[in-house]
Symmetry: C2
Subunit: 209 residues, 2 copies
DNA sequence: GCTAGTTTGTGAACGAATTCACAAGCCCGA
DNA sequence: TCGGGCTTGTGAATTCGTTCACAAACTAGC
């Protein structure tokens, strides 16, 4: 398979969200034009994005909503359950544990880890908070595919190193630091500090162009 | 000024974070090579990024840490205070309100808004939860520059429309939906559902290339 | 079954962002 | 004060992603 741009994958997520909405409303077909308008892009972009994965539409008619959404779900890896562990039972970890969108899309949170004895043994929305000391042996036994880092920046690289050593290949990082991992491990960052700076940059450099 | 790529601005944020770390450690100069290694990019990229804004280094020596970090802070709009309002006092809104990194960098949360009578009048980490009905008149009086949307997807576009009508030009969106705004309003999205799908895509399409 | 009207899929053209490569400039030690 | 060793700043080359433009393929109405 040809290398797919990250921007393409992001747009596929967006298209899927609209398709699910259309599915709920019982619409049967949709054009690239319609998807583009909703997703804030162009119809050519939509068609090009889809063309990397195959040919899903009918000329003159558009795309079948159920067919395309099922194809996108398959492409995005939503056709199966994923086991997820969260590291850090602070505010962010807690907000993530309760987020319903996770389980809904097949991301199954199997445990939250923390080092704080106060928190260990309690539960968050029915999910057990476990001692971080157990992390490696638990991963060996339960084989989660995805780890979420939800701790402050200082310890984050160290935790990532531990995650990498267990063999987990996909990490979502909420700590506001740049992390380093081997090339075969995918790390995505959600960094609101960076987004805010993007906003103040835009506000600051507004009329100067 | 020439149009600056979003990716450039993101990297500037990353560089700044390292520079602040170096400042704390009392280091006086840094090379593009060092910044690149830490930031996961190349030295040429670092120099090109900076070159859009001026010439900050000394050939043969590198960049002065205090000078470059102060220049980056200025560029990123961190040389002043920004007034921020959060819409939504749920889990995400609460996590944001308590996040210390905000105030630290000059983002001053002046209020949280919600429509739930149970929550109105209470406070989150010392920040008042106000009735969403007051939103427009409060904004007119207090002139916040940045609004954060921290509510579920369904009401998000409607809230964005209200924000836009007040004249606020910068919005950070945590709702997992694609929002539409006029071109003069900058909307940044933090969408963990999308990031997760990027991860499961990577896991799914790993060895097939 | 034929024609008018759509909409896809995709090479080719374009534009944007990254990387290369090197002259220019600076520091330091002799 | 001169030369060797670094490191910046930046045009040019390259790579990557988006947009254009149109033939191919389908529907529907007559």
């Amino acid at each position: 398979m040809k290398r797919i741009a990250e921007s393409t994958v992001r747009r596929l997520s967006i298209y899927l969200r609209f398709l699910e909405e259309f599915e709920d409303r019982g619409l049967s077909t949709v054009s690239s034009e319609e998807l583009a308008r909703r997703g804030g892009t162009t119809s050519a972009q939509v068609r090009k994005d889809l063309s990397f994965f195959g040919s899903f539409g009918k000329r003159g008619l558009g795309y079948s909503v159920p067919e395309l959404s099922s194809a996108l779900r398959e492409i995005l890896g939503l056709g199966r359950e994923w086991r997820v562990v969260i590291i850090g039972a602070g505010k962010i970890g807690a907000a993530l544990a309760q987020y319903r969108g996770f389980r809904q899309r097949g991301y199954n949170i199997i445990a939250v880890y923390d080092s704080n004895p106060e928190k260990i043994g309690r539960s968050l929305e029915g999910i057990e908070i476990r001692d971080m000391a157990r992390f490696e042996s638990d991963v060996a036994a339960e084989q989660p595919e995805i780890a979420v880092i939800a701790i402050p920046g200082e310890g984050a690289q160290e935790v990532l190193d531990r995650i990498v050593r267990t063999g987990i290949k996909a990490v979502l990082n909420f700590a506001p630091v740049q992390l380093h991992a081997p090339a075969d491990v995918t790390v995505k960052a959600v960094n609101m500090a960076m987004e805010l700076e993007g906003l103040s940059f835009a506000l600051t450099n507004r009329e100067t162009d």
